[in-house]
Symmetry: C2
Amino acid sequence: MIKINENYLKLPGSYLFSTIAKKVNEYGAAHPDKKIIRLGIGDVTRPLPKAVIEAMHKAVDEMADAATFRGYGPEQGYDFLRNAIAENDYKARGVDISPEEIFVSDGAKSDCGNIGDIFGVDNVVAVCDPVYPVYVDTNAMAGRAGDYDPKTETWTNLVYMPCLEENGFMPQLPERTPDIIYLCFPNNPSGAAIGYEELRKWVEYARANGAVILYDAAYEAYITENLPHSIFEIEGAKECAIEFRSFSKNAGFTGTRCGFTLIPKELEVNGVSVASLWNRRHTTKFNGVPYIVQRGAEAVYSPEGKAQVRELVDFYMNNARVIREGLAQAGFSVSGGVNSPYVWMKVPEGMTSWDFFDELLDRANVVGTPGSGFGPSGEGYFRLTGFGSAEATIEAIERIKNVFGK
Amino acid sequence: MIKINENYLKLPGSYLFSTIAKKVNEYGAAHPDKKIIRLGIGDVTRPLPKAVIEAMHKAVDEMADAATFRGYGPEQGYDFLRNAIAENDYKARGVDISPEEIFVSDGAKSDCGNIGDIFGVDNVVAVCDPVYPVYVDTNAMAGRAGDYDPKTETWTNLVYMPCLEENGFMPQLPERTPDIIYLCFPNNPSGAAIGYEELRKWVEYARANGAVILYDAAYEAYITENLPHSIFEIEGAKECAIEFRSFSKNAGFTGTRCGFTLIPKELEVNGVSVASLWNRRHTTKFNGVPYIVQRGAEAVYSPEGKAQVRELVDFYMNNARVIREGLAQAGFSVSGGVNSPYVWMKVPEGMTSWDFFDELLDRANVVGTPGSGFGPSGEGYFRLTGFGSAEATIEAIERIKNVFGK
């Protein structure tokens, strides 16, 4: 008789965003006159850049003509896109990466989730806390996380690295040595960004321990200070890291779906090329990104595309600035929002993240995301994002200042 | 120190199509005057239907306007597409399926490969032989296949069900009882199609043994006879089957990427809903199909789309007919090509599949696919496909008749 993967049964329900939706709907029904502003979303709202739209129209037309029609493409992505990525995201920053090390995919979420396939079940995994839940859940599904303890809201076999105000929201080298280390910078949810020195420390640690860093750089476009955009800007990282990138947050591809994973040829485990394992997975369980979408992604690197992406990012970052400055004026302790569209605030003393959620909804009619939804160390924190409209963001912050300002 | 998934090291190289390409390139270089015709491909060649093109242009325009822009969509697919599928592919054939049972994805290959995630490693897996290699390789990666025996070219822990001329290319109930049974009808590579009675036998067998049938119906659009298009046309299948479908071969989406998996709510293992497990995987490791592509897939079900898809399928099926009839006239034993774009022929007595490949390339300048590339029981067979142009197909068959005809 068929057996299911029992690890799935250990997963607690995933109720963060459904609970938020339920609370907001109930509040809206009870107060139909109130204008609710949502600043909790991690999704973009501006249209795709014009260069992307034009490229996709052109690609759709190519699909209408037998002479230019494209069937199965290379699973790893078309050369035109892999070349553009290598040139613009890496060589332009002094990182010598070849297009063959880049695997185009339908997004960083898929790749972050699937990368575990090529590693053994008996690896110790370290994650930041708070954390993007996909890292945790996919390791739980694979059987690497042990058991879920509902009391502590942690998994028995994961190494948690608390990122709190007192450590500048930076993970500290853990006591138990991990084999796989997830790092995400600029960070979701905290908006913290990592510097060269700090990242070098992690690369050295990973190399010293034979660990691999899974580096999620989906938000690198939001970096405004002098910080590494890629982990491969750090010497030695090619021997110990895999990097995930996305077109979701820079070019607005959340509903268009394209990202990529970079596995350097130098990354080997006992003489086995990790890229060759991923290549085998990618070509066996995946069939490439739509040609039309790859042409859209390529356009992100055209001169017009670059300018339009810059404009998009600046738009969201201006919202993040408004939120950050407004919250500070209202007396809140705030971080993020400088190299990230995410602003991470401390909730008032004595309140939980959910208490503050309720209060913010009730008194300011503003929706955010409770930090505890991202892990136990997120308790007492709250996430607001720059992805709303400029007007709504300003209004929301005015309301918050009126309600909570001292 | 990090450990890789050792199962990957057991995988033999995947050289079928690269070996074909190498041989063809070498032959072409040595004989630049010869016009080589490729009838080996499993990829479509005709442009996308006009209705799909129009829908995608419209969707691209929606992405250019903030008022109609789409960010993250439901990972399971938009309702407009799930409804169209439920209505047209199922309810229209008398199968009562609700849209919630349909999971839209980037293709049947991904889903067939990823479905194993939700099942335990300790399941016995049965596959047809010859077989679409993804079923075998993904189970090997997961550790369900045992070890690869290069002598027999089989995996020690898989149950192989030979499909040969003598059994009408139909798998027989295996001696060792499997927990997971992969069936693909119309079949790739043999082109064999299954009837209601025969499929009922499998449904009853699976139910009696608590097994689950993974039913790949990617080629159902090519059925011309009175045969089941979906396994759910068989009573009781909802308790024991999962179905995979694709827009690749009906509407030409091989480079546009869309398919879906249907898991009935009735399918449970010890009271656990299998659909709920897949939903968890789909929402954790996947982020939905591009909005633009889903609008294109929806257009497949419009009256114009349906007519255009019919035309496409008829075009390829006419090629398949030309191949099938021509080969028969040349004295070959031929099957497939009636409910499938694939024609499966026996190679001349005393030859291997690769011998025939070389001879066909050398004497007729025609490229096909050696049956042995699909498994040991494919030895002695050869696959030609209807996906070429009409003219090239006719010319290729004329050449074959001239060279091999008696």
